[in-house]
């Protein structure tokens, strides 16, 4: 963990320079609740716990030409229906809710990890479920979609990344942060299934630091951004967060420094990511980053590195599989601003007391990486 500590200090130094913040006109509101059904009044409670700020809704000055909204679904982790239907139910619920949005969203962003083991059966099942959404759909892959056939089925169904398009004055970019893993399979002659198995084990050690943007895609990003004005509203979708949160679970991209170098001149960048299956918010340099919920299950917060700006989500009830999960709605209003709303399927999204918080365990929780995949006979 010494390397990790060093990295983290470096991240702090690099990204949180005192004179470098997102454009100050991008105000974070102190609105406490997302769901209209909820009553206001917890501001003082949270302040007591010293959490800053209350980020339930983000209002970012954005400069869209006309109001519109888009929806985000990711991390459905579908198994074949013969194994379980739990995740199918939840993906279907999210899809129905997106389709029912009034007014309709302009598009759906699917953020990766549609399948659990990249099985074509799972990917096709996902494709079928998503067909119910009739608005335009955009896709980026997750690691669970890729490492059985190295993206063959995924690309045939959902196309290539990266991509970019302009929509009502906002530049949208989709990155592929999963396909550039260093080769961990050839030397030991792994079968495609074994390769996928290691990749699908979040806390495994065999697949290593697989999350990355890669030099070719960095070049593409820099070329794509170069004609844009420096205050152009930019939204970058990625499966992994574009900063360093917790490398052992690939809650990062390994080349976050280069990404930041490229984004530095742009004052109005928002990164929206999946993979972490939890409420997350961070500011790095001039970029804001929002972590989205999964529909499948919530990951616990990592034992270290939870961004200070994150107001943690409430501890999920392991007995209720509709808890701690959901999708997201983003309204780009005429103001102009972006309102981001977590559509979590329970009453409370944010913990008001540490005892109810998803990070509550971290008060007294020292963890170490697993060993069985490093001990003979290897598994």
């Amino acid at each position: 963990m010494i390397d990790l500590e060093r990295e983290r200090r470096e991240t702090q130094r690099e990204l949180n320079k005192p004179d470098e913040r997102p454009d100050p006109s991008l105000k974070i509101t102190r609105r406490t609740f997302l769901h209209r059904s909820l009553v206001a009044g917890a501001v003082t409670g949270a302040a007591t716990y010293g959490w800053f700020p209350l980020i339930n809704t983000l209002n970012l000055a954005f400069g869209a030409q006309a109001p519109f909204s888009f929806a985000w679904i990711s991390d459905t982790h579908l198994y074949p229906k013969t194994v379980n239907t739990r995740f199918v139910e939840k993906a279907t619920r999210a899809v129905k809710e997106v389709q029912a949005m009034k007014p309709a969203a302009d598009f759906l962003m699917f953020g990766g990890d549609l399948a659990q083991l990249a099985d074509p059966v799972e990917l096709r099942l996902g494709n079928d479920i998503l067909k119910e959404i009739t608005i335009k759909k955009h896709f980026i892959p997750g690691e669970h979609d890729w490492y059985l056939d190295m993206g063959k089925t995924w690309v045939s169904l959902f196309g290539n990344s990266p991509w970019t398009f302009e929509h009502k004055g906002v530049q949208f970019i989709g990155l592929d942060t999963v396909s550039r893993a260093p080769d961990y399979w050839s030397a030991t002659k792994m079968s495609p299934k074994e390769r996928m198995g290691h990749m699908a084990t979040l806390d495994g050690s065999v697949a290593g630091p697989w999350a990355g943007v890669g030099s070719d895609q960095l070049q593409w990003l820099s070329k794509t951004l170069s004609p844009l004005s420096k205050d152009k509203p930019i939204v970058i979708f990625s499966h992994n967060p574009l900063y360093e949160y917790y490398p052992p679970w690939n809650f990062w991209v390994r080349d976050w420094r280069q990404v930041h170098e490229i984004l530095k001149p742009y004052a109005n960048v928002t990164n929206i990511h999946g993979h972490t299956h939890q409420v997350l918010y961070n500011e790095i340099g001039t970029m804001r980053s929002i972590g989205m919920l999964a529909t499948s299950w919530p990951w616990p917060y990592a034992p270290q590195g939870v961004p200070q700006l994150t107001k943690p989500m409430i501890r999920a009830n392991p007995g209720d599989y509709f808890d701690g999960v959901g999708w997201a709605k983003l309204n780009v209003t005429a103001a102009p601003k972006v309102e981001h709303e977590y559509m979590m399927w329970r009453k409370d999204v944010y913990a008001e007391a540490q005892v109810d918080s998803g990070t509550g365990d971290n008060d007294n929780q020292i963890l170490r990486p697993r060993v069985a995949d490093q001990m003979w006979p290897y598994k």
């Binding site: 194994v83 365990d361 697993r370 069985a372």
Partner: protein, 152 residues
Amino acid sequence: MRKILRWRGGLLLLAAFLFVFASRMDHVQAHKEKHTPEQLKAFQDVFMEQVRIGDLLFHGDGDTEKKFDVNLSKTGMACAMCHPFASDTHPHEFPKFQEQIQEFATLRDMINWCIENPNEGERIDVNGPAMKALEAYHYWSNKGSVLDPGKH
């Protein structure tokens, strides 16, 4: 004279008792000898083998489940999918009142609750080899966390 004899007899009896007691102790306390590095390594190896087995079970390894004749999940989900690095299992906070079970519970009780509920598997023998290995993995993973029994 008789008094002395009786005293001597008593002394002999005491000596005999002490002898028997000491040899018993010798029998019970196998580590009266200093430990060799080989011995310590053997103890550690036994422990780490249990950690390894527990790790495999915790990560849904089918072969290991077969070997121990357990079925920890019927949903395709493994323990580690909600608890990477055995996080949020907090073995050091048991025993405690466990909300989900609505009872005072041990770590082993909670392991069985997770197997039966979110995982929809079959509960395992609370004193069986699979449970011991799972327990070993939980404690090993959380080593260094401060013992805090009863904490919610």
